[in-house]
């Protein structure tokens, strides 16, 4: 009670202060807003502009308005549709793996055990490895058919080693990206778990709930908001994964791991077709928006209600 009173008093005081002295909020915000405009709106506008242009760096003289030409090529290109499919597969699979694995690990790390601090740091460390380094690590040290640890382990156990990136390229990429991002989910979900008041768990136990019911009715709703953040941020990053693919499969074999960002990169910097890659970039923006829209709907509808206090 007294705490509330103090907080309220503080609030009113600062409100009054704001009115009296009136910091120039708009002017103070202007640089940041301006920066964001230049940073986002200008490139976006240029991309839109190029998408409607015939613009290939190899044929600088053949510039001019293309109408919907670039989009026509794009939509009839089988590789584009494949890339779209790969992007969705990648995002969904990685989300499923990182969130569920992250949740399990978070539940484990929420218990006290000897050496928890060290174990936690180790568990989180993959997240601090740069994506390109992750790619090289997986390609050359873990999944390499000759030098990889996995191959060594398989040989030791009497199995035939597998060239993972050649035979299971998508699986390997998903594995790699999940390895990288599970710590992120773990970290955020663990923070969420640790903010769950102990007495609520006790209350629900006294109310007669089993461990499973406790998890379903208390822990998951409590984590709602946090799960939302994890899913949101991770899908943004998964939609744009590039470096890991660049460093390992280069979108291959064939186009087996070519996702949208890689498709755009290839068109822009191998085909030098700025027009087409801009059109693909627009498609990527639209995809991201659709994704975000459904995601927000889904997550908000299912979980959001629980997280707020």
């Amino acid at each position: 009670m007294s705490n509330d009173a103090v907080a309220n008093a503080g609030d009113t005081a600062s409100h009054q202060g704001a009115k009296r002295h009136g910091p120039p909020v708009k002017r103070l915000m202007a640089p940041a807003v301006l920066f964001l405009m230049v940073w986002m709106i200008v490139p976006l506008a240029m991309t839109v502009y190029y998408a409607f242009e015939n613009y290939n760096l190899m044929m600088p003289t053949m510039r001019g308005f293309a109408g919907l030409g670039n989009f026509e090529i794009l939509l009839t290109d089988g590789t584009f549709w494949a890339a779209l499919g790969h992007t969705l597969t990648l995002v969904m699979a990685c989300l499923a793996i990182t969130v569920s694995l992250g949740l399990v690990l978070a539940l484990l790390f929420n218990k006290t055990f000897l050496g928890r601090g060290v174990a936690r740091t180790l568990a989180i460390s993959p997240f601090f490895v740069m994506p390109v380094v992750t790619g090289l690590l997986f390609k050359n040290m873990l999944l390499h058919p000759v030098y990889g640890i996995v191959s060594w382990a398989m040989r030791t156990l009497g199995f035939e080693p597998i060239d993972w990136f050649a035979h299971y390229p998508m699986f390997s990429v998903i594995l790699m990206i999940s390895w990288e991002w599970t710590p992120f989910a773990l970290l955020i979900l663990l923070t969420g778990l640790q903010s769950l008041p102990e007495d609520q768990i006790e209350a629900v136990r006294l109310d007669g709930a089993s461990r499973l019911q406790e998890f379903r009715h208390i822990v998951i709703p409590h984590l709602g908001q946090v799960l939302y953040v994890v899913v949101m941020l991770e899908s943004i990053f998964f939609l744009t994964s590039f470096a890991e693919i660049y460093a390992t499969t280069s979108g291959g074999p064939g186009t087996a791991t070519t996702n949208l960002p890689y498709y755009i990169y290839q068109n822009a910097f191998f085909q030098y077709d700025i027009g087409l890659s801009s059109a693909a970039a627009i498609a990527a923006v639209i995809l991201a928006n659709i994704f975000a829209f459904f995601l927000i709907r889904f997550v908000a509808g299912n979980l959001n209600a629980g997280g707020q206090r």
């Binding site: 209350a203 006294l206 019911q213 709703p221 629980g306």
Partner: protein, 376 residues
Amino acid sequence: MAVVELKGVAKNYGGAHKNAKAANAVENFNLTTRDGEFIVLVGPSGCGKSTTMRMIAGLEANTDGEIRIDGRDVSQVAARDRDIAMVFQSYALYPHMTVYDNMAFALSLKKVPKNEIEQRVNDAAGILDITHLLDRKPRALSGGQRQRVALGRAIVRDPQVFLMDEPLSNLDAMLRVDMRAEIIKLHRKLGVTTFYVTHDQTEAMTMGERIVVMRDGHIQQIDTPNALYHAPNNVFVAGFIGTPSMNFLKMTLGGDGKTLTGQTAHMVASSERQLIEAHKGRDLMVGVRPEHLILTTDETAANVIKGEIDVVEPLGSVTMVQLEVDGHRITAQLEGDTSVRMGDSIVLTCDSARLHLFDADTEQALPRHEHRTETA
């Protein structure tokens, strides 16, 4: 409704603690309730009262002794199977559920039919006057309303035992007095055996049928409020129960077994109290409550405490004065219209029957009745 028996219950947190005192949170706790009794556990923070309650709830395992509910030993029974409802200090309402769902939750886990749940929740809500809040989420409620919901969640289950862990300490003073009365009314109505933990002795005195005073993990005394006030077992209980606290003076018992002499104060123990031989000529702690001290001008009275007032607190109905006597701080509660000022020298007296006598070394009360004169 049930009889709760605690026999030699102890909680030891193990040798990891630096001192043995902290490791032994509760020791040798013995108590048997009547069916439907309202028991208050009271004591300063860290005395083990909450730990005791949590052991009854099953939230912590007792390391020794046994806890029986209606004869069944529940020491090894999980919290969820003990059929105990608890009201937490922080209320611990489920934030994502409405008030209705909060109250219905335990019943729905038990697979009680929907219409019966509705009936019971509505009944409980009616009793607590929260029917209009049933659709709200806890965050939209005030502290007092949350408190009612927490009570509602407990009573809707119709459990064997209620546990209340300082349920009123987050409420403001006015509301606390109201809720206090309401919880007592509720208890009368439902007749469920209740354990109530508090550090507030006023709450304990007003609510408890019997009060367990605890200190450092040990029971100091289990008694009715009246008995605690009039016949405290030891110096701790005497000082803990009653506001303002009892005054203590160190005095020497004379050879006649009646006269008590301090440096300046002198008193005569009441004549029907035959003091035991063993204490003759020895130091005693003499306790007298502030409300039993009377202002007098008669310095030759049997019981006299003299001193110079150094604090005056006029409260309207009464005036509190404090003085330093023989190195002890003495508080006296005088009539509201007494005209005393700081620096006044006054003489205080009291009825000999109001004196409490304690052994100065063991701090235990001296026996009050003639037939109990032999004590080690």
